[in-house]
Amino acid sequence: MSQPATPSGTTSGPPLVEVRNVSKYFGSVVSLKDISMSVHAGEVMCLLGDNGAGKSTLIKIFAGVHPPSEGTMLVEGREVKFGSPRDALDAGIATVYQDLAMIPLMSVSRNFFLGSEPTKGFGPFRRFDMARADRTTRDELAKMGIHIRDTSQPVGTLSGGERQSVAIARAVHFGAKVLILDEPTAALGVKEAGVVLRYIAQARGRGLGVIFITHNVHHAYPVGDRFTLLNRGRSYGTFRKDEVSREEVVSMMAGGEELEQLGHELAEMAHQDREAGKEMADTGRQFAEEARAVRDEGDRG
């Protein structure tokens, strides 16, 4: 199980994005050391690890925020050097950052299209097509089941979950090839989290590659095709879903700690499942079916 897995995605060929032996240092802080990871089309790669393991740092390399200190990055087999997040976006890589990267004083639709504003008119009269931005924003959010009162209200007035939904809807709208989600379900209620998981499955069905970071095994296991485990900036390896059980994923998320402690955690989780998580279990089951349906569809297509 320590052998890096082969892709389980629906298409072969080079990965959509890949990093080889990247390291990232912030001054004397070693944030990442010698990490290799790839995402293929039609695949969900779950990035797991404790707080401070370096997950966000790794996806920021994919997103063009940080250049790697060492190592290379490839998009569809070609080596690239992203100078800025714009380059990553232009390569079809859209990211939901853990801190959401939204601007509280700006309106919902201005935030949604910041950096990728639709325009109309020509030459010096080219202008921001606000009507289209408002309409698209409203539609994309409605698809997630979020009905915003007013797309011109500042993002700062939204609830945490609504804010997260806007960030996700934006990435889904602009992510042409690769969708990176850094703990997208953290602030969401059960139902909204289900919507996000469905989105991830849909994106995979459409042939996108998805990198999905979460601390919640109920979210990671049903959608993940492969799991990469980071621990204190190093990789413990990548595992295909058919190689690991849910319990092993939990153990991986706990940083591979002792079995006894794991047993406690599992017992507690089962307890939670029984007591409070009936709804969650239902959503999970419903979602698992859907994921299977989407997967089958993708396999046929």
Binding site: A63, V65, S84, P85, R86, L89, D90, T95, Y97, D99, L100, A101, M102, I103, P104, L105, M106, R110, F113, L114, G115, S116, E117, T119, R126, R127, F128, M130, G145, I146, H147, I148, R149, D150, S152, P154, G156, T157, S159, G160, G161, E162, R170, G189, V190, K191, E192, A276
Partner: protein, 376 residues
């Protein structure tokens, strides 16, 4: 769990004052009144303030000329010169930066034009273009230093303020032995320049016969420059991609960068815009007075910031309006001229200005709170 709470309290959510995380909120979609969106604009406080101050001076100084066209022209002229600066400074401050160097750019670019035209015999046009080039380079350098080093623009432009002021005083004294220069009206091209920068429109009316004497005011073309720039800035801010980037760059540069906004380019362009505005004010002054002085524009950088803040723009960036800056400059002009009409010694103007700044900041904080407070 959030979802459960929302479902248990459906009625409490209807007034929408306290939305909770929850799925069903269709019933709240309709609840946006156009009045509310006007009342939460950043410039609304300054707009009411302008009206209030006009009424105040209309009462205390109405019969000593404040209401006449002549009086109106004087405060509009003061407002225009500050307003041209304030509109550009508003964009920069929304973009999250300050520019204290504009005062010295006014003095320097005016003097550069005058030196080249008067001392070296350049046509006025070429001299003006050279001055413009100087201003834009200074703006670029300001911006480049700020985005490269990450130092606060307050400090960087404070440094350029002194460097430019000192350099232009030194240079001018070396060349002419003085610190001011006249006779610009004898240079080649002055007539056209005057038409563009310093025309005055005599407007005369007898108010449909309601007044016994005819009321005349001489309105400078700088008012048109001011309003034209304000309209352009407002359009850019609210209706173009670049405008959206300005809000983004000021609201959270890192977040804006992460979604692909070229934040550094935006900021450099904004610094060049304030430098351009300073050059325009210098042109208007030099052509109007037919002379340049190295000390022109002193203190204007602070007055411009005051006008912008009175206009509702947030000192920390990301929020504000160019129209607000117009109102801010107008208030500045009305108070400065109004207390003269009211017979108060002009020495007291600064007291008024400081007090107004405080009041405006308090009112704006209230307005902004209503517009942006989390309605949970």
């Amino acid at each position: 769990m959030g979802a459960v709470t929302a479902e248990m309290l459906p009625m409490a959510q209807v007034n929408a004052a306290a939305p909770a995380p929850g799925p069903a909120r269709d019933e709240r979609v309709l609840r946006t009144s156009p009045l509310r969106s006007v009342l939460t604009r950043p410039e609304i406080g300054a707009a009411f303030g302008t009206v209030a101050i006009w009424i105040y001076f209309a009462i205390v100084a109405g019969d000593s000329g404040f209401l006449r066209l002549g009086g109106t022209a004087t405060y509009l002229e003061v407002g225009a010169e500050l307003g041209i600066l304030a509109v550009a400074v508003a964009l920069l401050m929304i973009g999250g930066e300050f520019d204290l160097s504009i005062g010295s750019i006014i003095g320097a670019s005016g003097m550069i034009m005058a030196l080249l035209a008067v001392e070296y015999g350049w046509t006025l046009w070429l001299a003006a273009l050279a001055a413009l080039g100087f201003a834009l380079v200074v703006g670029f350098i300001n911006g480049a230093i700020v985005v490269r080093t990450g130092l606060p623009s307050f400090i960087v432009t404070l440094a350029t303020l002194f460097i430019i002021r000192g350099a232009i005083i030194g240079t001018t004294r070396l060349i002419t032995g003085r610190t001011n220069l006249g006779d610009v009206d004898e240079t080649v091209g002055y007539d056209i320049a005057r038409r563009i920068f310093a025309t005055r429109f005599e407007i005369s009316t007898d108010f449909f016969g309601m007044r016994s004497e005819v009321d005349t005011g001489s309105f400078p073309i700088s008012i048109l420059w001011w309003l034209g720039l304000a309209a352009l800035a407002t359009w850019v801010l609210l209706r173009t991609r670049f405008g959206n980037w300005i809000f983004g760059a000021g609201g959270s540069p890192q977040a804006a960068r992460n979604v692909g906004v070229p934040v550094n380019r935006v900021k450099i362009i904004l610094f060049m815009t304030t430098a351009f505005a300073a050059w325009l004010v210098a042109m208007i002054q030099v052509i109007t007075f037919s002379g340049a002085d190295v000390l022109r524009g002193q203190g204007q950088e602070f007055y411009a910031i005051i006008a912008v803040v009175i206009g509702g723009t947030l000192l920390t960036g990301g929020y504000g309006s160019a129209i607000g800056a117009v109102f801010g400059a107008l208030i500045f002009g009305m108070v400065r001229q109004g207390i003269v009409f009211a017979g108060v010694d002009a020495d007291w103007f600064q007291v008024f200005l400081g007090a107004m700044l405080l009041i405006a900041v308090l009112i704006n904080r209230f307005v902004r709170g209503r517009a942006t407070e989390s309605r949970r």
